[in-house]
């Protein structure tokens, strides 16, 4: 018999507005990173989360190519070819930074020392399976980088993506059809239309933007529940 757990926390539907823009989405992810966390931001859109971390948050950024305490992108005279991020973009170091070799850098991930990583995705399943490294297209050159290590190793994996492809296909799905990056590893999904938590009770909608829970439920094949009605 199913029982419904009632809590006092309710899903917030932001209806009098449109979907989140890219900057707004990055700010939302930054808001949810606990102060003092050790965090790895994936290549691409996740990197922009750093621009929204509040001053004094104490968040320490890890980059897979061997650094803790990574600072913002380097400009002008600060550009140093020996100091880049995972996307090979020149960056800076902050006070308290440290450097280490690749085996140590990935031991940090695999060993469960990173609190949060933020990754992009092609698809996330309702169990938290992640597909973000390969479209599976026959002519695509496979390239995984550190995606599998991050998905498997970080204590919490946040995904940042649009909820639908440009063609309107949902990216939060019952089962991933693209090749998998990791099994049951994603705990939160931040999208332009809403924020989802994935847990033992399935997918919960925490917030919506420019749409309602009911509308999302009708457009997704995944069962999504509002907060306070987790089964």
């Amino acid at each position: 018999m199913k029982t419904t757990v009632k809590t006092t926390v309710k899903t917030v539907e932001h209806l009098g507005r449109g979907p989140l823009g890219r900057d707004e989405l990055a700010a939302l992810v930054a808001r949810d990173i606990p102060p003092g966390s050790f965090v790895n931001l994936g290549i691409g859109q996740p990197t922009t989360v750093a621009d929204h971390l509040p001053a004094g948050s104490g968040v320490v950024l890890h980059t897979e190519n061997g650094m803790l305490g990574m600072g913002p992108a380097a400009r002008g005279d600060d550009i140093d070819p020996d100091l880049t991020n995972a996307g090979k973009v020149p960056v800076t170091e902050l006070p308290g930074a440290s450097y280490f070799h690749h085996a140590d850098s990935f031991a940090m991930m695999r060993g469960g020392h990173l609190d949060v990583c933020v990754l992009g995705a092609f698809q996330v399943s309702e169990r938290g399976d992640l597909a973000n490294w390969h479209t599976g297209a026959p002519d695509a050159i496979p390239a995984v980088g550190g995606a599998m290590d991050l998905a498997t190793g970080a204590k919490q994996v946040f995904v940042m993506m649009t909820l639908f492809t440009k063609e309107g296909t949902p990216k939060l799905v019952p089962e991933c059809t693209y090749p998998l990056t990791g099994l049951a590893c994603v705990s939160r999904v931040y999208t332009d239309l809403g924020v989802f938590h994935i847990g033992p009770h399935g997918v919960t909608v925490v917030e919506t933007y420019g749409t309602s829970v009911a509308d999302l439920a009708s457009r997704l094949e995944v069962a999504v529940r509002p907060l306070g009605q987790e089964e």
């Binding site: 880049t84 170091e93 990935f106 050159i141 496979p142 390239a143 090749p179 099994l183």
Partner: protein
């Protein structure tokens, strides 16, 4: 005893056809470009190259690939905005590719250097990169059995070395260098300058000299005008 050399040709002498060559660098940071250029002139072919990427632009590893010397690439991230040399060879069926998750790539070389026969790794479980590999559940968690990658040769870009062969690195150019230096039969490092023995702070040495066979001192060629 580490040989300190100034001639790139001497530094890469004796690398045989068919060798497995570990090449340091993450993108161009830490890539031993002068050693790779010397290897191209030296002529060894039918190589298996292990490196994080599969070449950027037209220099360094990309030039070695363009010269047709590489039979197989073992790497984590071949596809980049500037990996046109590799992309062309791959699409033409002229090069074999083994994609390995980045941390597993590093750990497989670390294992080779540390005398580990194989290890159970959680990365990649349930994905296409674990297909055909032995798996095991340990304490409720699933793992994939991964084997070491041993190099015949490692080409490493470090910052400075001393006459004994101790190496220090600079910032994120360290990346795979210290791991690869341990994992090859013949380790060759290029450095921006060589200091006298005793001048490197022993507490700061990252690659101890026991791992290093040859050092190419670039200070003469890199001297600023």
């Amino acid at each position: 005893m580490t040989a300190v050399l100034t001639d790139p040709e001497e530094a890469v002498a004796g690398i045989a056809d068919g060798s497995t060559v570990l090449i340091g660098g993450f993108g161009m940071a830490g890539m031993p470009v002068q050693l790779i250029d010397a290897l191209i002139r030296q002529g060894a072919t039918d190589l298996t190259v292990v490196s994080n990427n599969a070449g950027n632009g037209d220099t360094g590893l990309a030039a070695l690939l363009a010269a047709g010397r590489v039979r197989k690439m073992i790497c984590s991230f071949p596809r980049q905005s500037d990996s046109w040399v590799f992309d062309g060879l791959y699409r033409a069926g002229k090069i074999e590719l083994e994609v390995v998750p980045q941390g597993t790539l590093a750990e497989r070389m670390r294992a080779a250097g540390a005398g580990i026969g194989a290890f159970y790794c959680p990365t990649g479980v349930g994905t296409p990169l674990a297909e055909g590999k032995e798996t095991r559940t340990i304490d409720g968690r699933d793992y994939v059995l991964e084997y070491p990658i041993k190099g015949d040769v490692a080409l490493v870009g470090a910052h400075a070395g001393d006459r004994m062969g101790n190496l220090v690195y600079r910032k994120t150019a360290r990346n795979f260098g210290p791991v690869m230096a341990t994992a090859a039969t013949l380790t060759i490092a290029q450095v921006h300058h060589v200091v006298e023995t005793g001048e490197l702070d022993p507490e700061a040495v990252v690659t101890p000299c026991i791992y290093v066979d040859r050092i190419l001192d670039l200070s003469a060629t890199e001297a600023t005008p």
